[in-house]
């Protein structure tokens, strides 16, 4: 694969080329951006333009980055193998970060000529995460990430209408959710709760998704539980994006006016993030502030890269009086 002289070493029970490949692509001697790009290219099979678009960089620059990385792997002899057992815990979090990004690119694919949901990418991310879990069955974050992916994937078909428009969680046909994936995801979340170890980011996100997938409809959702879980997440990741997502739940619990006050405080830091404007637009719409809502939808449409999302936002905007 990287022109090594010696054949890959056997890795025991899990002898999977892709697993070896992913540990190579996610090697700590490579820069984080390089790891993601390389994994998307070598493991996920994305094209160079797709990766360049995902990173908002020039295609030539992305090509050079990947070429340099392959040269380094070969020249410095970054091994093509799964790390030894004692080194695995230190290496796995970097791999999970990359897998999560691949899943997200599949779940909310970017680009005007791309399918809104790239099932090939989400399926590959799940498959690889299962491999990591088989390798490290007691690792909480690996279980958490797998549960998060399964509970998200379960809603895939309900999430985009036949007309190619995004369907929000509130409007989704819950009967179309995949019960087997939800059952498996819930099992993993329960397993982590029973472990009684402080959960990391993926486990908390999985628990939030477990609350959503346990509810019959949006009114039946335990929003106070969702907000409590986001509070937990804010403590380990106080980023503006987590705060934004928390505000969406707060809108259901305390009303759109309370949520909007929080969202508006994020304006400076999330000005270029489409979901910030989409969230604001929705909250303003619910508060009857149509003109401001329209302006926020315009901004969100301008920034959104996903075709289904653009279609949804456009319809919402055009429904405003």
């Amino acid at each position: 694969m990287f022109d090594h002289d010696d054949p890959p070493e056997p890795t025991g029970a899990i002898d999977d080329d892709r697993l070896r490949l992913i540990f190579t692509c996610c090697h700590p001697a490579l820069a984080m951006e390089t790891r993601i790009a390389l994994t998307l290219r070598m493991v996920g099979g994305l094209s160079m333009p797709e990766i360049a678009r995902a990173f908002l960089v020039q295609e030539t620059a992305m090509g050079q980055r990947i070429t340099r990385a392959k040269s380094k792997i070969k020249a410095a002899r970054i091994p093509y193998r799964v790390p030894a057992a004692e080194d695995l815990p230190g290496r796995v979090s970097g791999v999970l970060a990359v897998l999560f990004l691949i899943f997200n690119e599949g779940y909310l694919a970017t680009g005007p000529d791309t399918d809104p949901v790239r099932h090939d990418l989400t399926a590959e991310a799940i498959r690889l995460t299962r491999l990591i879990r088989a390798l490290l069955p007691d690792d909480g974050e690996t279980a958490g990430l797998l549960a998060l992916m399964l509970l998200t994937e379960a809603r895939r078909t309900a999430r985009v209408s036949p007309g190619g428009e995004l369907v929000t969680l509130a409007e989704q046909d819950r009967g179309a959710w995949d019960p087997a994936l939800i059952a498996e995801g819930h099992r993993l979340v329960r397993e982590r709760l029973a472990a009684r170890v402080a959960p990391g980011r993926y486990q908390i996100l999985a628990a939030i998704n477990a609350v959503h997938t346990s509810a019959r409809d949006v009114r039946d959702t335990d929003w106070s539980q969702v907000v409590a879980l986001y509070d937990q997440l804010v403590r380990i990741d106080p980023s503006p994006i987590v705060t934004l997502n928390r505000a969406v739940a707060v809108a259901e619990l305390d009303g759109p006016d309370v949520a909007l006050a929080t969202v508006d405080r994020l304006a400076a830091r999330l000005a270029d993030y489409h979901a910030f404007h989409a969230t604001r637009a929705d909250l303003l719409r619910r508060l009857g502030r149509s003109q401001e809502s329209r302006a926020a939808y315009d901004k969100a449409i301008e920034l959104a890269g996903n075709t289904a999302e653009t279609a949804y936002l456009t319809r919402r905007r055009d429904q405003l009086g």
Binding site: P28, A75, A76, R77, I78, P83, D87
Partner: protein, 107 residues
């Protein structure tokens, strides 16, 4: 596979006795486990001379080829099967000599 390990320092003659002792222990391990090829400490960068004879007119310049805050204070050459092994040793070595290390493969 051979790797050049450059010892990066921002002071000269900065080695303490404790560091020297820790480096000795680390070097013994390198030799015993078969990674050792070569090691040496370098005099201050100000003692370097750059020679340029590309045009058959040798020019000698006083000082190192690049002036920088950090410089190479010493080096190792290790024989290691792959980068994982080299990085593991370098992690130990950086602690032992209390300096940053750069690991770079030979062709």
């Amino acid at each position: 596979m051979q790797y050049l390990i450059s010892v990066i320092d921002d002071r000269t003659n900065s080695g303490t006795e404790e560091e020297m002792a820790a480096i000795d222990v680390f070097n013994e391990k390198l030799q015993k486990e078969g990674y050792w090829v070569f090691a040496g400490g370098l005099a201050a960068p100000s003692s370097a001379t750059v020679i340029d004879n590309r045009n058959d007119a040798a020019v000698f310049t006083d000082g190192p080829f690049v002036e920088s805050k950090e410089h190479i204070a010493g080096l190792w050459i290790w024989e290691a099967p792959d980068l994982d092994v080299a990085l593991k040793l370098a992690t130990e070595g950086s602690k032992a000599c209390n300096r940053k290390l750069e690991v770079r493969p030979f062709h």
